[in-house]
Structures are given as C-alpha cells and as structure tokens.
Symmetry: C2
Subunit: 182 residues, 2 copies
DNA sequence: CATATAGTTCAAGGCGTTTTGAACTGCATG
DNA sequence: CATGCAGTTCAAAACGCCTTGAACTATATG
C-alpha cells in the first residue's frame, strides 16, 4: 500500500506491473524480512531484484520502490555486505547494476547469529555478575540468590531456544531452499 | 545504568540494595523480555516483584524503578492481563499490592503465539494471493510465477521455524522451568 | 582536464512507539 | 457527604529508528 504506486509510466518496460501483484509480493517479502529483524526496505529491494531476475540500476530501484537516492545506496550497501545482492558492471553502461543472490534465509541466519547471540550472551553475563555480587554480599538471603539463579535460567532458555530456531532454519528449512541454489 | 539510582533512602527496608546487583538483575530481565518483543519496563516490573518476593504497592514500584504513576498503572495492567502479576488486597491497607507469578516464559510463548502467527499467516496469504493473480494473468512468464512460489516458501519457512522456536520453549525449556512452579 | 553522471555520506526531519504528568474517577474513611 | 489517597486515562513530550535530500566524492567520457 505504500511506495510503488506512482502512476503507470507504461513505457518503462514490458514488465511494469499493471495489476499490483508484483508490489504485493515485494511488500510481503518486506514484511517477512522485517519480522526477522531487518529493515522492511532491505527485503523489498531484494525482492524486486529477485522477481525481475535481471540486474537493475540504483536509479531504477529508486523509481520502482519509491525510495530516495541515499536510501537506495545504503540499502544496497547492506545487502551487498550480506552477500545477497551482487554489483555487476555492464559493458556499454556507465553505472553499476545490481542483481539478487538467492540465499536470503542463509544470510538472515548468519546475521542473526552474529547479532542476537552477542546480545543475549551479554545479558546472561550481567545476570551471572549480579548473582555473584549477591553471593559475595553475605547479608543476602539464600532464597534471593536462588531467584537470581532462576532468572539466569530465563536468559539461558532464550539462548537455547534461539539456537534451536537457527539450527532449524539451517537444516529443515535449508534443505527446502536448495531449490533456490539450483 | 538508567533509573533505579536516586540516592540511598536507607530507611525504606533492609532490602534496599547498596551495591547495584539488584538493579543489574532487573535490567537484565528487562533486556531479555525486550528481546522477546515486549516492553523493557514490563520485564523490569516483573523482575522487581519476583526478586523481592513480596507484594509491593504501585507507589513502591514507581519509586524503585523510577517510573511515572501512569506508566506503572499501564505496565501492571498488561502484566495482570497476561497473568504474570497478581493483585492482592492486604488487610489494614487502603491500596492494592502486586506480586509476581512465576510463569514468565509461558506468557511470552502465549502472547507470541497470538501475535506473531497471525502476522506471518497474513504475509503468507498475501504472497499466495499475488501468485494467484500472476497465474491468472496469462502474460506472466512461468519462471516468474515460479519465483513467486519460492518466495512463498520463505514465508512458510519462517512460520515453520517460529513453530519450532515456540515448541522448544514449551518442552525443552518448559521442563527446565518447572522449578519455578514448584 | 572539464563535464556530467553515479554513488556516498550524514545532519535534519519524519514517524511510530513508549513514557510522562495532569486531570479525572473511584473508593474508603471520618 | 467531604476529604484524601489510589488508580486510570490520554494528550502531549520524549525517544529511537529510518528515510530524506543536499553537499560531497568518485568515475567515466569527450
């Protein structure tokens, strides 16, 4: 419903969607990717490139998704860094073109691993530290220390669940996604 | 580092922490809970009540966590609705007191189930709809429809992974957390 | 090397969410 | 039934994140 609907401009290409199904799919991917903790527009850019199945210029992406020049630059930088978009130089053309690599879930897993694990690990460390301090302080009741220990377990549980989450997306899902790589 | 450090007020109770370990633990729980998609301060309120192991008044919570009156009211409302905090009336006291129930992870799972599944389901529906439209439109290449189908698979994968995530936190973790209920 | 166009950077602005605080409601008590 | 305090509500402020757009840098071309 947002972006991607500023008039027909029918001349652009035979591919320009008349009915909104392309935009709908693009936005849907944007939403999935947002769920995984990335920016909506990162998902939309990837989806556009993937669906069109051809390398587009930054200017084209900007126009198709109704983003700003600077925004496209930054979004592409992220996607390149994660290896899900490739920058290619076409012969007679002065500007770069970008095309989608297909391992979107792989990258999600990788980035989440780096990002979230560090975060949860830090929390666990804080709780462990708090418990140690409480234990050292002789005046703290045993029961209270016990409760701190249980709270640590919450953080551990989160870490563990996250682990399973990622493992699943690696094998279960990963196998399923070999279609992409084929 | 934020909230919870406005001077000693040593008279309040023998429990008032001199060294920051209690605040540290409370903030850590706030961070875990935020990770699970709730408000940081919902976690902090729960953690305070759980750690103190006694029913506190709204005024006390307000003071201990340096929150506003209105904020405490709303936070408690949420926690009550989710069943992780109970409202109790003490005999000689005009005001309510609140105490922590111990099934924090249970509630996280329940709320996530309601909230996230609906969200992902909607996305999947959008993608399916987009594919149907594309299929109906005869001018769309087969390859493109195929790509739409693969994008649907991403959404399905997300749903599946989420499922495993929640199942894990139910059994694996759930078992571990029987200590809370004991 | 001058020019034009592509791409990058980042301060400022926009936007959605959370928190505040003041007005209000409700309840218990004298 | 008047008073005071506990609790609720909600508009406005604060906050954090994302995007914009203008200035800047890099690159290709004649």
């Amino acid at each position: 419903m947002k972006g991607y609907l500023w008039g027909p401009s029918a001349a652009t290409s035979a591919r320009t969607p008349q009915s909104g199904w392309e935009a709908m799919a693009i936005d849907a991917v944007g939403n999935v990717i947002e769920f995984w903790g990335f920016k909506r527009n990162q998902g939309r850019v990837w989806a556009l490139l993937y669906l069109r199945d051809q390398a587009l210029t930054a200017a084209e992406i900007e126009k198709e998704l109704d983003l700003s020049k600077g925004g496209v630059s930054m979004l592409i930088r992220d996607l390149e860094r994660w290896g899900v978009v490739l920058r290619v130089r076409t012969p007679g053309d002065a500007s770069w073109r970008y095309r989608a690599e297909t391992d979107l879930l792989q990258m999600a897993r990788r980035v989440i691993e780096e990002r979230e694990f560090a975060f949860i690990a830090r929390i666990r460390a804080d709780l462990a530290e708090a418990r140690k301090l409480a234990e050292a302080d002789g005046s703290v009741e045993r029961e209270k220390v016990e409760r701190l220990r249980k709270m640590e377990a919450v953080a551990e549980a989160t870490e563990k669940a996250l682990n399973v989450f990622l493992k699943t997306s690696r094998f279960d899902v990963g196998a399923m996604f070999d279609v992409f790589r084929a």
